[in-house]
């Protein structure tokens, strides 16, 4: 072959002339590329989800009513709207404890999926004066201030066409939408206590008596605490339990750790599956190429007879391997895209852990990696299969091929 272009053309002709054989080979590459793209995207989404969740927690500890620990976790993790509360005195008691840097409280309420509300979501009222959890997050994404009567919505909450949301018959202007957090907070609506007061009144007027709105200032759903550096955590926990009854002290790190453990097992399954499929893809390609090149012994012998050097024969088979690996890799990537993106929500719900797709650049990188790896598989498999043929005496190769 006078140049690489001619080797490439001849290799492509061989692939096109034997479509079934080429398709079978490509299928092995499709599996490898698909596994790599889907596996890496899933892993990245899980790690991204947990990382974002950690970032958004903001507080070191949470205090919730003793019987509402599961509900509180639901609000954070699954987005299932919950309603629970305890006396605000807990927040006041905590503020005086040695080692506590700042304290804020939140009140949770839920909207309904009936006509009175645009959607059933978690309503969260926070105290703008003491808040250190929501505000940094709001400032990052939303430029407008949360005025009284307006709300900030989570990434999964869709406002009405006029840019408002309706709760218990009243509409509220959406001042901004937050970025995705991969937590239940994506399905929440944030507001000031005054706005929440109005909503509670409207709910009461419609016959939904969850909490006396006159007393809403006396209740909180959760108290969020940030402690000073090197604070005595055990001591703080002990003092909190001494000062308040019927509460549950939750370390947010432990909450994240629990999820990380769960994530670890999911990740192990992904790693094992990915490894098995990659090995399967590579071994299958080697076997296929070996069998096919064995059947093509006579063809290689003819090439030698016509004056093709061993090097050029390797180049021809390498072209076939590269083309099949790359084409299969692209096929796997397309299949992967058709799986990961349309089924994103389904995967998220099935895995039941924070799940957040990585940036487009990372997804592109995984796609490219899949194609590069299967192209390398194809080249290596074809090269290894040709090596013995290219260097064997042509006479024997010819006879063996007959």
């Amino acid at each position: 072959m006078s140049n690489i272009k001619e080797s490439f053309r001849f290799g492509i002709r061989n692939i096109r002339k034997r479509p079934y054989r080429s398709f079978c080979l490509m299928l092995a590459a499709v599996i490898g590329s698909y596994a790599l793209f889907v596996g890496l995207s899933l892993k990245a989404s899980l790690n991204n989800g947990i990382k974002r969740m950690q970032e958004r927690m903001g507080a070191d500890f949470m205090i919730v009513p003793e019987e509402s620990e599961v509900k509180a976790k639901n609000v954070l993790l699954t987005g299932e709207p919950e309603f629970f509360y305890m006396d605000i005195s807990v927040a006041r008691a905590v503020a005086d404890i040695e080692g506590v840097e700042c304290v804020t409280s939140q009140l949770y309420f839920t909207s309904l999926s009936s006509d009175c509300c645009s959607t059933r979501v978690q309503l969260i009222a926070f105290d703008p004066d003491t808040d250190f959890v929501i505000h940094p997050w709001i400032d990052e994404k939303v430029t407008e201030k949360v005025a009284n009567g307006s709300v900030i919505v989570g990434s999964e909450v869709t406002p009405l066409p006029d840019g408002k949301v309706k709760f218990y018959g009243n509409e509220y202007q959406v001042a901004g939408k937050l970025g995705e957090t991969a937590t239940g907070l994506d399905n929440s609506v944030f507001m000031s206590r005054d706005t929440m007061h109005g909503i509670l009144n409207d709910a009461k007027a419609k016959g939904y008596q969850f909490l006396n709105p006159e007393d809403d200032g006396s209740y909180v759903s959760t108290v969020l605490i940030r402690v000073k550096d090197n604070a005595d955590i055990t001591g703080i926990e002990k003092q909190i339990y001494e000062k308040a009854e019927g509460i549950k002290f939750i370390e947010t790190d432990k909450l994240v750790n629990d999820i990380t453990v769960k994530l670890g097992s999911v990740e192990s399954i992904i790693n094992i599956t990915l490894t098995v499929l990659l090995v399967f893809s590579f071994v299958t390609m080697i076997l296929f190429f070996s069998v096919i090149f064995h059947e093509r012994k006579k063809e290689f012998a003819v090439l030698r007879i016509l004056g093709t050097t061993s090097k050029k024969i390797c180049l021809i088979s390498l072209t076939e391997g590269i083309t099949i690996g790359a084409a299969g890799g692209i096929g796997g990537l397309i299949l992967g895209i058709l799986t990961v993106f349309p089924f994103n929500d389904y995967i998220e719900n099935t895995l039941d852990v924070p799940y957040l797709m990585p940036a487009v650049s990372a997804v592109i990188l995984y796609g490219l990696l899949g194609v590069v790896v299967t192209t390398a598989f194809g080249s290596l498999a074809s090269f290894l299969s040709t090596l013995s043929l290219a260097h064997a005496e042509t006479y024997y190769t010819m006879r063996a091929g007959e």
């Binding site: 006078s2 006579k298 007879i305 004056g307 090097k311 006479y395």
Partner: protein, 223 residues
Amino acid sequence: MAFLTAEKLVKEYKRRGKVFRAVDDIDLQIGSGEFVMIEGESGSGKTTLLNLLTGLTDPTSGSVSIEGKDLKDLDDKGISGIRNEKIKYIPQGESLLSSLTVKENILFPFVIGGAARPSDERLLEVAEKLGISDLLDEYPSDLSGGEMRRATIARAVINRPSLIIADEPTGSLDSVNTSKVMDIFKTIAEEGTAVIVVTHQKETLRYASRVLSMEKGKLREVS
């Protein structure tokens, strides 16, 4: 100087642990324009000898020289270059590349070696002489055994090489086509190309300027 020289050429194989000499101490010289035919029984070592002469297999001992160059001293690129341009080998059986058309098969050695491809007139002339001019765009899978054989011969003769070595080239041809092929070989030899043909067909020996006979690895001059 002879175009091809073989000296004390020996090729041994092992069969069931025993050493077997397929080619036994052969000396041979072929000059330009010679038309040499080698006859002999199956298993007498004819094909092994041809493979040694083309450098497709290595001798156990002895040497083969092309235009004074010992093939042992040439690397893969050197021997491949000789096979591409100077020696055209027509092996037994079918040897067309299945992914190429007849025309592409005939021109393939020029794609490999990068030498200037022959003119369309030359291609048509050879194809017409061999009766395959209307088959140039067909793939080998659409041809009969005889047609494939003639296409293979066309590939060998098209660039008027220095030496054509053919292993039973007319084995699958009828008498008319056998005559056509032998006429082509004779003409090409008259034009200066050395031709070595191995055959079982005694009636074709009359075309040769020199006939050799092979028996149990030994070569002897018949006429």
